[in-house]
């Protein structure tokens, strides 16, 4: 934190890089930004934290010219600036690295860099110029990328570097990064932060949007907290702490650590061996993995998204087919899909909280009560007679679940799409956990879920473990894996790279395994 003092010195002399005064923006009845004022010092890394829907992305989209603010002013380097579109933002020296990259996948790195800023009708001179600039930038900021590689062949971390280079090539002085680490391994994330610090030390200004408090503490100089469209606080990072930030984000005290006792292990419930899954194009996504889960334990599956975790959940949940063997209490499950589906898995006591609750776990156009029996709608307790469903019973059952899981608003007749992400997740969890399953498969239980709800969801999962059930938890959030699971297996490229007892490992070791380092090296 030695740079901290030099930074503050610089701040006092220059006008802020960005100053927002009274920015407001509404979408229909939703006030996404309410009278937001903030100032970002030149040559600083300024973090913006907030829960989903707090208005961070809207604010940055206004700054980058995607949306027009209903009210308010923007000053760039002390000059009042209108930003009607992204061209104007680029002209003002603002560059943005989006959460989902905006790259042409089958172009080379160089072609992507010059796209839209070619110097003339012929691209050859532009490419040559870009090549030399790129070399310079790479050298200066540790941003090495092969300029002639096709973008789709690059790793996600390198693709992100191309996005940063694109912005720098357009002479951005102010760089906005929206949730940049969502797709990175911890090592890649660390490298990114190193790049960001380099950029800052060269006088660039960086705005980092994230929901991970650890990154804020780790990488930023100043942090602004948003809650429900309002800016609730701006503090020096050195003078705050994660619990304080969490409280500012949620509006009440939050327990960041999961309270749990050591596991009481029972017999092996789930046995997976040599499990293989091919996707619809015939590409092998699971390459013969084996593991066990015992009663009373949570096995975590860590890994960067897209390394086979989704396929693992789907084949266990009866959604896709595979080869190999899955045994529940010693009985072999059918993996061909000829004699099994989601129904037969449920009948075997396997409950599944899918990774993508909006695409798989819920019917968004159904009301909450219709969703509360989804997948279990064959259960006799939901039937009135051979022909009719017992809607009154389903409704009562849903109302009870909503109360038990504190789902808000507690109105079972509301469409699923009208609940917040956290409450949607709770609807799925309530449905699956209250079946009291033998095995619970959980994918990304807290993705897009507010901090307040995360605490509750973690407690429910631990309670099910303590009731002696076997739990398989897939998460890309290492913190979640580390705090919630008893054992952890790391997946990389369709294989299990290694297995550890959670208490005996750390982020660094898991991070190396996530990046594909072999077990011996890790």
């Amino acid at each position: 934190m030695s740079e901290q003092s030099t930074k503050t010195g610089r701040q006092e002399t220059a006008a802020p890089a960005i100053e927002l005064i009274g920015i407001s923006k509404a979408f229909g009845p939703v006030q996404a930004n309410k009278d937001i004022s903030m100032s970002v010092a030149k040559g600083a890394i300024h973090g913006i934290v907030g829960e989903n829907g707090a208005g961070k992305s809207t604010l940055m989209s206004i700054l980058y010219g995607f949306y027009k603010a209903d009210a308010g002013e923007i000053f760039v380097n002390g000059v009042a600036t209108q930003i009607p579109d992204s061209q104007a933002a680029i002209k003002a020296g603002i560059g943005m690295v989006h959460q989902h990259f905006m790259l042409v996948e089958n172009f080379t790195v160089l072609e992507n860099i010059i796209l839209g800023v070619e110097d003339g009708a012929l691209i050859k001179p532009s490419l040559a110029k870009a090549r030399s600039v790129l070399l310079e930038l790479a050298h200066e900021y540790e941003l090495e990328v092969d300029p002639d590689e096709i973008v789709e062949n690059l790793s996600v971390g390198h693709q992100q570097r191309v996005e940063i280079l694109k912005a720098l090539y357009r002479q951005a002085d102010i760089l906005i990064l929206d949730e940049p680490t969502g797709v990175l391994t911890p090592t890649e994330a660390e490298h990114l932060f190193r790049i960001l610090r380099n950029l800052r030390d060269q006088g660039k200004t960086i705005i980092l949007i994230t929901h991970k408090l650890k990154e804020i503490m780790n990488a930023t100089d100043t942090v602004s907290v948003m809650r429900r469209g309002k800016m609730t606080a701006t503090v020096k990072t050195a003078e705050t702490s994660p619990p304080e930030l969490a409280e500012l984000m949620v509006g009440r005290k939050v327990l960041l650590q999961v309270d749990k006792s050591p596991p009481k292990l029972g017999e092996t419930v789930l046995e997976v061996s040599d499990l293989r899954v091919r996707n619809e194009f015939g590409v092998e996504r699971l390459k013969g993995i084996s593991f066990n889960v015992r009663a009373g334990e949570i096995l975590g599956i860590a890994g960067v998204a897209g390394n086979g975790q989704s396929e693992l959940l789907e084949v266990l949940g009866g959604i896709c087919t595979g080869t190999g063997s899955i045994k529940v209490h010693g009985d072999e499950l059918d993996l061909t899909g000829n004699h099994s589906d989601g129904q037969s898995r449920r009948a075997r006591g396997i409950a599944h909280v899918p990774e993508d609750r909006q695409r798989l776990g819920l019917i968004m156009d159904f009301m909450a009560w219709e969703n509360a029996c989804f997948g279990y709608h064959h259960d006799p307790k939901y039937q009135k007679n051979w022909l009719m469903m017992d809607n009154a019973a389903i409704l009562a059952d849903a109302a009870a679940k909503m109360e038990n899981f504190d789902i808000r608003p507690p109105n079972p007749r509301l469409l699923a799409q009208n609940f917040s992400g956290g409450n949607q997740q709770k609807i799925v969890l309530a449905r699956e956990i209250e079946r009291n399953p033998e095995i619970l498969l959980v994918g990304q239980p807290t993705r897009g879920v507010d901090i307040g709800a995360i605490e509750f969801i973690h407690k429910q999962i631990v309670a099910l473990r303590d009731a002696g059930k076997a739990i398989l938890l897939v998460s890309v959030e290492l913190d979640e894996i580390l705090s919630l699971t008893d054992r952890v297996a790391v997946m990389f490229d369709g294989n299990i790279q290694g297995e550890r007892v959670t208490a005996e490992t750390d982020e660094k070791e898991l991070g190396l395994m996530m990046a594909g380092a072999s077990e011996e090296a890790a």
Binding site: G28, V30, G318, I319, Q343, H352, L360
Partner: protein, 365 residues
């Protein structure tokens, strides 16, 4: 939350659509030098002004209820059944076979079997596209359209061949036995002292249409099959997660849809013509798509929309009669405008109305 109230979506928007459609249609009438108010007067009078007109209106509405329900049931599973026309035509064959097979002593005995015959044939005609969609992924819109043509060709072939009545030059079957005659509105209402036009083709198939409406509502919102159909329609991926079998749902839904479309032949072939003729469906299969769209795929909405389209059809014929300058094509244009505004251009009205509601709500809060 950020939506307008349901009543506005269900009643206000279609109403505004309708007014717009009539305004534009009025301009068209004005452009050929006629008074649009006269035109509307003749249409409404023609459709509702006499028991004869009313009888025709409800007769057409009966057809549209059947085809509208057929489209709606399929649409709840996100299957676009464009094949009502062909399914109804082939269902006519099923009804005719049943009705010609015996010398039926009474209509009440003949009707259930005719319904069964028509339903099975209509469903069978929907089965092939359904199977191809479920197992082979052939798009059901394409296959059902093609099956309309195949169905028409098949019926033409049979009516010119094996089914052709030897007593006439026309491509039509022998008349059905007298015992299979369905009571008309005139015959049903006369004993009650209500005088109803003798010439109107309205018959008790109308009650069958109402029964089908209730059954469709019951199926969709009270049974497990209906739950699965709706879940499958809203999200195929979630249905897979829940273990709802896609092949089974696709095929069963299309069978029900085809059978419903087939009920049209009970109204037309058994109720009115009393022998099988060529091209008796007369476009009602396609009108069913507009009816289902305007009725928001809800049985009650479909009945209301079918009544409207019944009025348009009957009123349109009356208009031809009363205003010689208005041609048959003109009437088609007016009907098409209504379909355009209520179906295809729905969002033209829907979105602004929704915005007004949201603004009002915001001001209140």
């Amino acid at each position: 939350m950020d939506k307008m109230p349901r009543w506005a979506d269900v009643f206000l928007v279609p109403f505004i659509n309708l007014v717009l459609a009539f305004l534009v249609a009025g301009l068209v009438v004005l452009a050929i030098g006629e008074n649009p108010l006269h035109a509307i007067y003749f249409m409404v009078k023609g459709a509702l002004g006499s028991t004869s007109g009313l009888g025709y209106t409800l007769y057409y509405a009966t057809n549209y209820i059947f085809t509208g329900l057929a489209v709606a049931v399929a649409f709840h599973a996100r299957l676009f059944n464009i094949g009502g026309e062909g399914q109804a035509a082939v269902a006519g064959l099923g009804a005719a076979i049943v009705l010609l097979a015996f010398d039926w002593p009474h209509w009440s005995l003949a009707l259930p079997f005719a319904v069964l015959g028509a339903g099975v044939f209509g469903a069978a005609w929907a089965f092939i596209p359904a199977y191809l969609q479920a197992k082979r992924g052939s798009h059901i819109v394409i296959t059902t359209i093609m099956f309309n043509f195949i169905g028409a060709a098949l019926m033409g072939y049979l009516l010119n061949g094996i089914l052709k009545s030897p007593h006439t030059q026309n491509a039509e079957s022998l008349p059905f036995p007298a015992g299979a005659h369905l009571p008309t509105a005139h015959e049903v209402l006369a004993p009650l002292g209500i005088a109803f036009s003798k010439s109107a083709p309205l018959n008790i198939s109308f009650l069958l249409a109402i029964a089908c409406t209730v059954l469709v509502w019951f199926l969709l919102w009270r049974t497990r099959l209906g739950y699965e159909i709706r879940a499958f329609g809203h999200s195929e991926s979630a249905a897979k997660y829940a273990g709802i079998p896609a092949v089974k749902i696709t095929i069963i839904t299309m069978l029900i849809s085809g059978a419903l479309a087939g009920m049209l032949s009970i109204n037309v072939v058994m109720g009115e013509q009393e022998h099988l003729i060529k091209e008796f469906v007369g476009g009602a299969g396609f009108v069913g798509i507009a009816v289902a769209l305007m009725g928001r795929s809800h049985p009650l909405g479909i009945v209301l929309a079918a009544l409207l389209f019944g009025m348009l059809t009957q009123g349109g014929f009356e208009l031809l009669w009363e205003m010689p300058t208005i041609s048959r094509e003109m009437v088609l244009v007016i009907q098409a405008l209504i379909i355009l505004f209520t179906g295809a251009l729905n969002n033209l009205v829907h979105d602004p109305v929704e915005r007004i509601f949201l603004r009002l709500r915001k001001r209140k809060s």
